[in-house]
Structures are given as structure tokens and as C-alpha cells.
């Protein structure tokens, strides 16, 4: 214990003192482990010596700046957004602000624009993440197996991810603009795919896939790297075909990496904003939840409705994360085991 680094000392000492076993691995336990360990029962607290107590005080003091910053930059805006979502708060009518309870939630949840945007967001998310997973896996295999020019291949594959999303989105927009766009010119004359709903959603999905497949590939590449070569060789000695080795050996071992990649990309895709903002800005029924929230909050200056939408998006994202972690056993970052308990 005492061999540990200086900063960890107080926490580990206390844990020994409190005689609490190391927390079970798992995201929640890992995150709260330190907290439970520092709150032993009253009898034990009395037994703490003066030195230990001052050490613990030091520990708290050292944590304090980080805690204060967290509260100021994260907790306060969230709490403020929740409070705003319970008010009629419109910047254009500063004198009419009042508490309205859950009225804003009823307004948003009974509105067809909201559900339309919800459907579009889900369509974009499901299709783009599914395609990205397949393409990303293929790309990861290529990057993993390439023997010649490995660095060049990886760099080339990662270029789209390195381009700022807004810049890439403008590239896509111009490519699909009739007259001078190289992709629009492939289509028949007078067709402007970005001005019709279905083609526009298709282009948005395409732009998402192009942009973030490398990110998926990068996460999967890390997963591929942990599959031991010995197992592959043993499987091939047993007569497994390439496909069998992929499905029976590689994929099961990669499951944590795949689930983490899926979780990250799904959460990212649900919040899709920049591509749509540049490509259509929500016209022709292509608004995502973020675009709708932006239009109401920033364009409409309606803080109440806009905050309600933000909170509802926050809940959506939380539900998705919950399903991934509890349902599929995705490991949260920082824990070393599957999250399922």
C-alpha cells in the first residue's frame, strides 16, 4: 500500500483502515469505490488518529479544485437547463417569464416536429452506425494486416476523420449542388438532391459514414490488436477456415472493443448537428433533434422549449448508454471488465 504514489496514499490508507474490500470491478462500482471507502461508520471514524485525519483533510483539499470546476462547468449548466425547462422563458418577453411546471414537456412531446426529428435522428443513427461498423471492421482488418507501408495506409484511412466536420460538410454540399458539383453533375439535369427529403437524408448519412468510419476503424483496430496470434494459429491448426476464425475467435474476443465502439458512435450520431446544419439546415423535414433544439433555442430565443428539448435529448442519450452498458454489457471507459453485474 505505502509503495503507491503519493497522491493515492490517503485513499488507500483509508481503505485499509475501513477494512472494506476492493470494490467490485464495474463502471459504477469503480466510480464510487473511492467515495464508499472514505465514508466508514462512526465507530471507525473515532478510531482514526490525528495524522490520518489531517491526511484525509489534505485529500479532500486536493480534490476540491477539481470538484469545484466540475460543479461550475458541468453541474451548474445542467441544473440551470432543468430549471429553464420548467419555465416559460422567452428572451423576447422578458417580463412574461413564469413557472409552468411540465407544460413545456407536454408541448414538445405532443408536437409532430419533435417526433419527426426524432425519427430522422434514429434513422440516421441506425443506418450510419451499422454501415460504419461493417466498413470500419474491414478497414481495421486491412490496417491490422498490412505489412507494406503500414504507416501510409493508416494515415490515408484516417484523413477524413482529420478534416473538420463543417469543412467536410461544405465539401459534400458543393459536390451535390447542381451546376458546379461533381456529384450532382453525374445525376440528370435539374436534379437537386439536397432539396428533397429522402435524397437529402441519404446524403447526410453518406457524409456521416465517410467522416466517422475511420474513427470506428481506429477503435476496432485497438480491439484487433488484443486478439492473441496464438489463438488464431491454434484455430487454424484445428482446421478452422478464415471465416470461422473471424466469427469464432476474433469477434468474440473483440466483443468489448466492438461494443465500446458502437456505444461511442451511437451516442455521437444521436447528437448529429454539423453535417445537417451545413447540408440542409433542417429544410424539407431533415431536422435532427440537435438542429430542432438549436432552432428553438438560438433562432427562436425560446429558452424554455429549447432547454426542454436539450433535457429530452440528454435523457435519450442516457437511455441508449444504459441499454448498452446494462443490456449488452459494454464496459465503460476506465473499468477493466464487462459492465454486466
Amino acid at each position: 500500500m505505502t509503495d503507491d504514489g503519493e497522491t493515492r496514499q490517503p485513499r488507500d490508507e483509508t481503505r485499509a483502515e475501513a477494512d472494506i474490500p476492493a470494490p467490485a470491478a464495474g463502471p459504477v462500482a469503480a466510480a464510487t469505490g473511492a467515495a464508499t471507502a472514505t465514508v466508514p461508520n462512526g465507530a471507525r471514524r473515532a478510531a482514526l488518529s490525528e495524522g490520518r485525519r489531517s491526511e484525509r483533510r489534505l485529500g479532500w483539499l486536493l480534490c476540491l479544485p477539481a470538484a469545484v470546476i466540475m460543479v461550475v462547468v458541468t453541474i451548474y449548466p445542467i441544473v440551470y437547463a432543468i430549471l429553464l425547462s420548467l419555465q416559460r422563458a422567452d428572451l423576447r418577453f422578458p417580463n412574461d417569464n413564469k413557472w409552468v411546471g411540465l407544460t413545456n414537456y407536454v408541448t414538445v412531446l405532443t408536437n409532430s416536429f419533435w417526433w419527426h426529428a426524432f425519427a430522422i435522428t434514429m434513422i440516421v443513427t441506425v443506418i450510419s452506425v451499422a454501415v460504419e461498423l461493417v466498413l470500419g471492421m474491414a478497414l481495421a482488418m486491412v490496417m491490422h494486416r498490412t505489412l507494406l507501408g503500414r504507416g501510409v495506409v493508416r494515415t490515408l484511412a484516417l484523413i477524413p476523420y482529420g478534416i473538420v466536420t463543417v469543412v467536410a460538410a461544405y465539401g459534400w454540399r458543393y459536390a451535390w449542388t447542381p451546376g458546379y458539383g461533381y456529384l450532382a453533375n453525374v445525376l440528370s439535369d435539374n436534379s437537386a438532391p439536397l432539396t428533397q427529403q429522402a435524397p437529402a437524408v441519404g446524403i447526410i448519412i453518406l457524409a456521416e459514414i465517410w467522416k466517422t468510419t475511420p474513427f470506428m476503424a481506429l477503435l476496432l483496430l485497438a480491439g484487433l490488436a488484443i486478439v492473441p496470434d496464438d489463438l488464431q494459429r491454434a484455430a487454424s491448426m484445428d482446421g478452422a477456415s478464415t471465416w470461422q476464425r473471424f466469427t469464432q475467435v476474433t469477434l468474440p474476443l473483440m466483443k468489448p472493443a466492438i461494443l465500446v465502439a458502437l456505444l461511442f458512435r451511437t451516442l455521437d450520431a444521436v447528437r448529429i448537428y454539423d453535417n445537417i446544419y451545413v447540408l440542409t439546415n433542417g429544410a424539407q423535414g431533415t431536422s435532427s433533434l440537435s438542429i430542432l433544439t438549436y432552432h428553438n433555442l438560438i433562432g427562436g430565443l425560446n429558452l424554455g422549449i429549447g432547454s426542454t428539448m436539450s433535457i429530452l435529448m440528454f435523457i435519450t442519450v442516457a437511455i441508449i448508454a444504459f441499454i448498452f452498458i446494462k443490456g449488452f454489457g459494454t464496459a465503460a471507459p476506465g473499468s477493466d471488465n464487462a459492465g454486466r453485474r
Binding site: L91, R92, T107, F113, A192, T195, H295, I298, G300, I305
Partner: protein
């Protein structure tokens, strides 16, 4: 002795450093206050010769103030967003605001711009056309000085359509005739899902004798005239006059369709005349204008343009008012009208026949006048007399967004049910209760 010296040295260094820092901060905040000339920050949309007009006013001010021109983004939505975000944050760095006529009510109701009173108000109202003035007057209080105005006209090719029809039905008939003859027959209107569609609807609705909101801007009006207007739009959108890409036509594609020879006419702002003169001079002699079409006769135009307002958070409001008065005086309006094509709001400017440089002879290219740059000026003046404004309400942005969404694409408008949908959505939008699409 030695520690004492060190301490003294340290104190000196500390005081010196503090003084330098304070000095830097002060000079950073003060701008040119130190030279005695207050700086007025003007925020306005990019207009080619605006900087010249600002320069002229700065010279005339003789050191009383200096206007610093700051340009807003290009699109109207982005301009509005930047302005309202800074105003909502009580930004003292803005003094004179160049705002779209439709935002005037919104900014006034939110308490972000100052009313024009006393002699300032008198100077604005003196000689200004009533229609642009009405866009800046909210419940009898003047909140902006109309700097330029705008109305759409019917622009047509006289070689294909010798007599311009006064109604939409007439346009449809003409288009059908031209189509049969195998000639260009599209009549371009702004049918894309954006503010232009609201302008089109507002004009047709006014021609049918109705309005989107009541006069006070508090309740939805629509009703029977709206049903008439909507069925006119739907009929037009499904006729030979409608371009196949009507649902994504904005002002510029409309202009290009006529210049490119695929369309016979367009309902558009006067800038298309200068554009035709530059792009297709050989077509100019057959490029004519007529009043905007209506339903039973000549229609009513929707008014556009810019008002100059003074921010509530300005530190020099009095100077800002007098600077705004200079920026929009007759001479500067004429300058902007001739060089940038923005129609003036002061009536006398339309009758001014002198060229830009009165000491030299009038020349359309080198020394233009209102006569050479604005051959359609009488038509604009006539339309301005009957022009209608868009709904004057603080929630205009909401009303406009909802309207353009529900009317898009114009082909699918169902007069009765669309009117009902508009009524309920606009009603929600007015109370800032509804959700913006």
C-alpha cells in the same frame, strides 16, 4: 539595510508592473476615448458602398463621433442570430444596428432598441414614405429610421408576352399559350421553403384582402381570404406557369431562369434590372416591369428593406441617433440607391434627376442618376403606396418559420386544410408556445 532595499525594490517592481497592466487594460477598453472622439459601432449587413457612406458621415461629424462599420454575416438568419445573442447579453459594444424590417418589432418588444423621440423622430418622419415608416412604428412608437425599402415587381420579356397580365389567372393563361407554342413559359416565384415563400404568400393574401395577423399583431387573421390566396397559389403551382424546380426556387435562381431564357417572367426585387443590364445587355430592351399580379386585379406588394435602430445598451445614444440620421439622409440614400441598388425611403430622392456628381453630365456608366439607374422608379413608388408589411409581432421569426414549412412545397397546398394548419401553428407560435420546425 540590505533586506530593506530588496523589499523596496520588490515594491517598486510590483507597483510598476501593476501600473503597466492597468494601463494596457485601460487602453484596451477605452478605444480612442483617449483621443476624445467617441466611437460608435455600427453593425449592418454587407453592402458594397456602405463604407463610403460611413466615411462621408465621419467627415461631416468633424470629430463629434466616429462610426466604426462592422459587417454582419451574409444570410438574414445569421445576421439576426448574431444581433439578438449580443443584445440578449446586454453587449455595450453595439450602437447603431442595421436591422431587417421584420426584426424591428421583435427587438422593440424585447426592449433591446431605443424609441426615436422628439426632433430625432421628426427628422425621420419628414419626407419618408408612409409604407416603410409603418414597418418601424410599433403601437405608435417609432423604433427605427427606414434606411432603404423594397418591393417586388413583375418582370417580363415583352418579346414573348407583349401585354403583362394583372392577375395570377392571366399569368397561367399566358403560360399555357406559350407552352402550346413551344416557347419559354415559366413564371418564376420564390417557392422554396424560406422567407421568400412567406413574402409570396403575404402578397397574395393581401391581394385577396386578408392578412396573416390582425393589425395589432396579437391574433391570427387568415380566414376566407387566406383560403382564396392558398387556392390561387396551389393553382399556380400546378399550372404550366410553374417551373419544375419551384419548390427550391429562391430569388437568384428565379433571376437566372429569366436571364438564361427558360422563363418568360419573374416576380422579383428591382435588383434584377441591373443584373440583366450587366449579364444579358442584349435582352435588356425587351426586359420590362409591371405591377405585382393579384387575384381580381393588380396585387399588393410586401415591403422589405432595412431600418436603423439604436441599441438600448449603447453608451452614446444621443450621438448614435444623430449618426443614424446622417447615414440615412437624402444624399446618402441616393448614393446607396444608385450604386448599390437599394430603393430609398425618402420620397424626394425618387424625383431627384441630378447625377451623382452634379457638376458633370449624366452618364449611365460613369455618372449615373436615379433616372439612369432606376427607370422603374415610378412603378416602385406606386407599389409603395399600397404595399403591405409582414406581420408586425415580436414572434415574427416563429410565424415565418411555421408558415414557410407548412406552405412547402407549394404544389401540395390544400386551401382549406392548409389554412386550418396555419391557423393553429401560427397561434401557438404567437404565444411562443409552439415548437419551431
Amino acid at each position: 539595510m540590505r533586506p530593506e532595499t530588496t523589499r523596496r525594490l520588490r515594491t517598486t517592481v510590483a507597483v510598476g508592473a501593476a501600473a503597466i497592466m492597468a494601463g494596457t487594460l485601460l487602453s484596451a477598453c477605452g478605444g480612442s476615448e483617449s483621443t476624445g472622439t467617441p466611437v460608435l459601432n455600427m453593425y449592418a449587413y454587407p453592402q458594397q458602398h456602405r463604407a463610403d457612406i460611413v466615411k462621408r458621415c465621419n467627415q461631416q461629424a468633424h470629430g463629434k463621433y466616429r462610426i466604426d462599420l462592422n459587417l454582419l454575416p451574409r444570410t438574414a438568419d445569421q445576421q439576426r442570430e448574431q444581433l439578438v445573442r449580443r443584445l440578449a447579453a446586454a453587449d455595450h459594444g453595439m450602437d447603431i444596428l442595421g436591422i431587417d424590417v421584420t426584426w424591428t418589432a421583435e427587438l422593440a418588444k424585447a426592449g433591446w432598441i431605443r424609441p426615436w423621440t422628439g426632433s430625432n423622430r421628426q427628422q425621420v418622419e419628414n419626407g419618408t414614405l408612409p409604407a416603410p415608416l409603418s414597418t418601424a412604428t410599433i403601437n405608435g412608437t417609432l423604433y427605427g429610421a427606414p434606411n432603404n425599402t423594397n418591393v417586388q415587381l413583375l418582370w417580363y420579356r415583352s418579346d414573348l408576352m407583349p401585354k403583362p397580365p394583372a392577375t395570377y389567372q392571366g399569368l397561367i393563361d399566358e403560360a399555357t399559350r406559350l407552352k402550346k407554342a413551344g416557347k419559354p413559359h415559366y413564371v418564376e416565384v420564390t417557392g422554396a421553403q424560406y422567407e421568400g415563400l412567406v413574402v409570396w404568400f403575404n402578397s397574395v393574401l393581401a391581394a385577396a384582402g386578408g392578412s396573416i395577423l390582425n393589425k395589432a399583431g396579437t391574433e391570427v387573421s387568415l380566414g376566407k381570404p387566406a383560403v382564396t390566396a392558398l387556392s390561387t397559389m396551389s393553382k399556380f403551382a400546378n399550372s404550366a406557369a410553374a417551373d419544375p424546380s419551384l419548390s427550391n426556387t429562391q430569388e437568384d435562381p428565379a433571376r437566372l431562369a429569366v436571364e438564361g431564357g427558360t422563363a418568360v417572367a419573374e416576380i422579383n426585387w428591382p435588383y434584377v434590372y441591373a443584373s440583366m443590364a450587366a449579364d444579358k445587355p442584349q435582352m435588356l430592351k425587351n426586359f420590362k416591369w409591371a405591377p405585382i399580379p393579384g387575384i381580381t386585379g393588380t396585387g399588393k406588394a410586401t415591403i422589405g428593406g432595412e431600418n436603423l435602430a439604436v441599441s438600448k445598451y449603447s453608451d452614446h445614444p444621443d450621438l448614435a441617433f444623430s449618426a443614424a440620421l446622417c447615414l440615412r439622409n437624402a444624399a446618402n440614400q441616393k448614393y446607396g440607391a444608385i450604386l448599390d441598388g437599394v430603393p430609398p425611403t425618402i420620397e424626394s430622392v425618387y424625383h431627384d434627376t441630378r447625377p451623382l456628381d452634379p457638376n458633370k453630365k449624366t452618364n449611365a456608366k460613369t455618372n449615373p442618376s436615379m433616372v439612369t439607374a432606376y427607370p422603374m422608379r415610378q412603378a416602385i413608388l406606386d407599389e409603395l403606396r399600397t404595399a403591405v408589411s409582414r406581420p408586425v409581432t415580436a414572434t415574427y421569426q416563429n410565424v415565418s418559420t411555421v408558415t414557410s414549412t407548412l406552405l412547402s412545397p407549394p404544389k401540395s397546398i390544400q386551401a382549406v386544410s392548409t389554412e386550418r394548419a396555419l391557423r393553429s401553428q401560427i397561434s401557438d407560435a404567437l404565444q411562443s408556445k409552439g415548437v419551431l420546425p
